[in-house]
Symmetry: C2
Subunit: 584 residues, 2 copies
């Protein structure tokens, strides 16, 4: 047996016990006549003591030679510490060591195994197994486990069945790019890895399973943006015989349970906001509603003067920043530069100071008088002491720009508090989205999402206006889940696919099995999928998912630790009936 | 809202309640003036009644037209049944229907949705979503969910952390064939899908996570034998600072918990058997120990006469079949034919009847007298009334043949009771296995398994004799789990890989990251993996894993429902830098 206790376990009441511990040498302090060693494992740190009076000379020397991250086993007696450490759970005791065994030596680690390390991102990823020894990374992984277990137990108690759907499925060119898997046994053919178990969970509903969930890996071969992973984890759920309201209530319950169980936070009924309102008030379909700063549309009160920039704009829209009249001119100029960065893309920004005496001072005083500016203040909800920022231009673009500014200001002003949780349902999404490059419409959610009742006919005349039975769950400005009520009859599905540009032949080839299933008594059904990586990160008070994944890939989709992907043996290629087609 | 209750919920105490139900039409009985409909969902069946006296005529006609598997919603009053059905939980009541809505019609299903269906395997797989509606299939999936949850909760309570390891990893030509995934972003390079998370779980131990588990899909591109799937599920576990004994105790605990919680069966301490003993006594490393019939080796008592078949054999070995002296000559001849089938491969079989009067009658009476045969009976444990079967030949082959016969007899005699559970640890497996075709040794478990202490040197002189710290958990003649204490130092790992035929360069390329990790303080560690598909099937009293998988693939690795794998678009191939290399 390697240990009688872990390194987080021993307390004052264990004094005089003979114990055996194993773990890593966190650090040693050598005073010559005394050597202290901090012994670490997953559960904590216990201090070991060797001293010249009580410890054999050879063991003293052994202790002095222990290097950082050596793995050792010690036996000894639990004794009371002379100087107790109230910040450590084991701080009342130490171990007077009578035997040391080096279980494994260690080279000097390439970075320090401390809460704050000197290792850069690349080095930490290459030696991820050392990075995981650090408290913050380990705590994140333990936290993820806790969330997963809570999700599974809650859903299981609600009658959901965990069903494993297949990973080797069929490629559908629609949507994001699939990762594919060549089949050796079926020459010239390929499996695809699922982007989500969407069609399978719908088939489980057709199969009468009623309530399904799965915590499941999904795969998307996309050019990676920051904080995207080619493989990611979904909490995937589906229910039969439900309307939108049933789904919202069920998963509001799950989210509330997680906030309570994991974070000890009680939240009331989740507000619901129409997609159109979210866009109008926050310029964003996943608004962070923790800090106000709602948009005020200013067309009515800003397009009647000689200021052509506004007059020719489709939308003039502003936000009031609470207390920001204290910003210096230089700070304001910096923010103007910030919105003009190509990533945001505004051409300029107008501002208006709301002075404490009720007067206004704007950057466009030439065109607007105090009465005009008072109306701006009214529209944006600005009070004396605030600062109003105004952007103008094409509606979609200017909303996105002002939304970016709003979030940036919230960050700078520390309004996005990691321990405050504001969930929100955004509902009534459009069914289709116009691809401005091709002029085609594609499904905003996916092709299986049902239109609102009675709106199917609109598809012919005004496809962009059709609303869907689709909803997103937003938490603190992040989409943590999204879903829809699905189409469950063949005819509607066929109409949808036609409008998405599928020929009858293509629709049959790719989704024939689903349309067939709809002919054999498919029940009404709908569902939702949560992004587990992001959910865990947000619950953990962070926004970077990579820190909550044991072995993440970098932005080129590489695992730098195992050095994958890698070239294949020629014999493997031959067996798979493949040749490389390398472009120089 | 689609329903106020499920179809398994209503009881006598609900009589007079107004309810709304939804579900599938299981069957209708039309007496003209009365129509009964059995309405089914996941939770049960409720009887609906329409009768000419109390039901509107148009609704009567509607009820008469309801087809099998139509999805309907009904509202009505819970009333007492005239003829109660004590075999149905809802058998005391029925619903007098006041409103019917057809939610979805159904074509006539291609097979009956009944416990025993008229659909063949192929049809059931093509329409798996209909097959899942059948009680036995649905119950299997619910049972699997129950087992998964019990495993997760037990391990979590024991301090194991569920960590998700990556699915896109690196191919290693060693062992079984990998499924691979071409990388679009890394031209000419491939990921592999994991055959198991072996190296990652070891790295988690190096990373100090101490106790890891995961229920995880694994992939093997092998020519499929019956009841093998290209993707399968493992309960994957690893622990640090453990010896073999710690692992056996921990997972004996898990297995005992499952038997208790899932099956209500209490079992005592699991017996442990050395691999060599399992082979000697049962000819098999996963013996079913529920029904005795241990092998008796007869070399000492059968090789001293003129019977050359035995005299030239490496091993003469028999089993006693309890009470089988009642077998007719014809039955015995059939069994002799059975062992001579090419799948078993015996050249012939000797038998000996143990008569009630204590005398013997064998098929080789010419060579062996009563005294000889009495020794056979003693060696095999045969009693009066039994029948002894004896095979001879090369040790490995004859043991496998007699093991096959033993299992076949147990099946025929119904000795393998699905509700009786006999777990067994088989320990001290050989480290290496001789490939008789190539003459090379390969790892019996995998290249990371540690040899027994002090046996490393034997690798040079008698590689086949080296025992490993490896163990299998056997349940009712099936290997349900297997694992080992791993190598945790670089030098031993390098020696192992050398003996397995890896050049230094190959070892570094394929396992360099692991060997590097061993240099930074790797703790002693070991683990086990259970095959969840098989475990669930055995706990469910069955041996076919396919019935416990929602969407299994057929023996050609095809999903016949979605028709995968399938050809890819040319543009997809081009993006992946691949060309097909089809052999005619």
């Amino acid at each position: 047996m390697y240990r009688t206790h872990t390194n987080g376990q021993l307390r004052a009441q264990d004094i005089q016990q003979e114990v055996t511990l194993s773990g890593w040498v966190q650090k040693t302090r050598d005073k010559g006549f005394m050597v202290w060693v901090d012994l670490r494992d997953r559960y904590g740190v216990t201090q070991l003591i060797f001293d010249a009076q009580r410890t054999e000379k050879s063991m003293m020397e052994q202790a002095q030679k222990l290097g950082r991250e050596f793995v050792i086993q010690v036996s000894g007696t639990v004794i009371e510490r002379e100087s107790k450490n109230p910040n450590m759970p084991t701080g009342d005791i130490e171990i007077l060591v009578s035997k040391v065994t080096i279980l494994n030596a260690s080279l000097t680690p390439p970075f320090t195994i401390e809460d704050t390390t000197d290792g850069g991102e690349d080095l930490r990823m290459k030696y991820r197994y050392l990075d995981i020894r650090r408290n913050p990374v380990r705590e994140n992984l333990l936290f993820r486990h806790k969330v997963s277990m809570a999700v599974r137990n809650y859903l299981s108690e609600q009658g959901f069945v965990d069903v494993e759907t297949p990973y080797l499925i069929k490629s559908t060119p629609e949507g994001a790019r699939d990762f594919v898997v060549p089949s050796r046994m079926n020459q010239g053919q390929f499996y695809a890895l699922p982007q989500s178990p969407q069609t399978f969970k719908q088939l489980l509903m057709v199969g009468g399973l009623d309530k399904y969930f799965q915590i499941v890996k999904c795969f998307r071969d996309e050019d990676l943006r920051a904080d995207r992973q080619p493989e990611f984890t979904q909490i995937d759920c589906e229910m039969a015989f439900v309307e939108q309201e049933d789904i919202l209530n069920t998963f509001e319950g799950l989210t509330r349970h997680l906030l309570k169980e994991i974070k000890g936070v009680e939240v009331g009924a989740f507000p619901r906001m129409q997609y159109d309102d979210a866009m109008r008030l926050y310029g964003n379909d996943k608004p962070d509603i923790r800090f106000g700063m709602e948009f005020g549309e200013l067309n009515q009160v800003a397009k009647h003067k000689e200021f052509n920039v506004f007059n020719t704009a489709e939308l003039v829209v502003g936000i009031a920043v609470s207390g920001a009249n204290s910003f210096t001119r230089k700070e304001i100029d910096k923010l103007i530069d910030w919105v003009r960065r190509p990533q945001v893309g505004a051409l300029g920004m107008v501002y208006c100071r709301c002075n404490d005496d009720g007067s206004f001072k704007s950057s466009v005083d030439k065109f607007y008088d105090q009465e005009d500016l008072a109306k701006w203040a009214e529209a944006t909800g600005a009070k004396p002491g605030d600062l109003i920022f105004v952007l103008s231009g094409q509606t979609n673009k200017v909303r996105a720009q002002l939304s970016a500014l709003r979030m940036e200001l919230a960050e700078r002003l520390s309004l996005r508090k990691p321990d405050e949780f504001a969930p929100l349902w955004v509902v009534d999404f459009p069914l289709l989205e116009l691809d401005e490059q091709t002029g085609n419409y594609h499904a905003m959610h996916h092709p299986f999402t049902s239109p609102k009742p009675g709106q199917l006919e609109l598809l012919e005349t005004a496809p962009g206006k059709v609303k869907a039975n689709a909803y997103d769950l937003v938490l603190n400005g992040n989409e943590i889940g999204g879903g829809s009520i699905r189409i469950h009859d063949k005819q509607t599905q066929a109409i949808m696919l036609k409008h998405l540009g599928f020929s009858e032949q293509e629709a049959k080839e790719q989704f024939g099995f689903l349309m067939d299933a709809f002919e054999y008594g498919a029940p009404p059904h709908g569902g939702i999928a949560f992004g587990l990586d992001r959910l865990v990160a947000i619950l953990g008070g962070q926004e970077t998912i990579r820190d909550f994944i044991a072995f993440p890939k970098n932005n080129s989709g590489r695992d730098v630790m195992i050095d994958a992907p890698a070239p294949l043996d020629d014999t493997q290629l031959t067996e798979l009936h493949l040749k490389l087609d390398i472009q120089e």
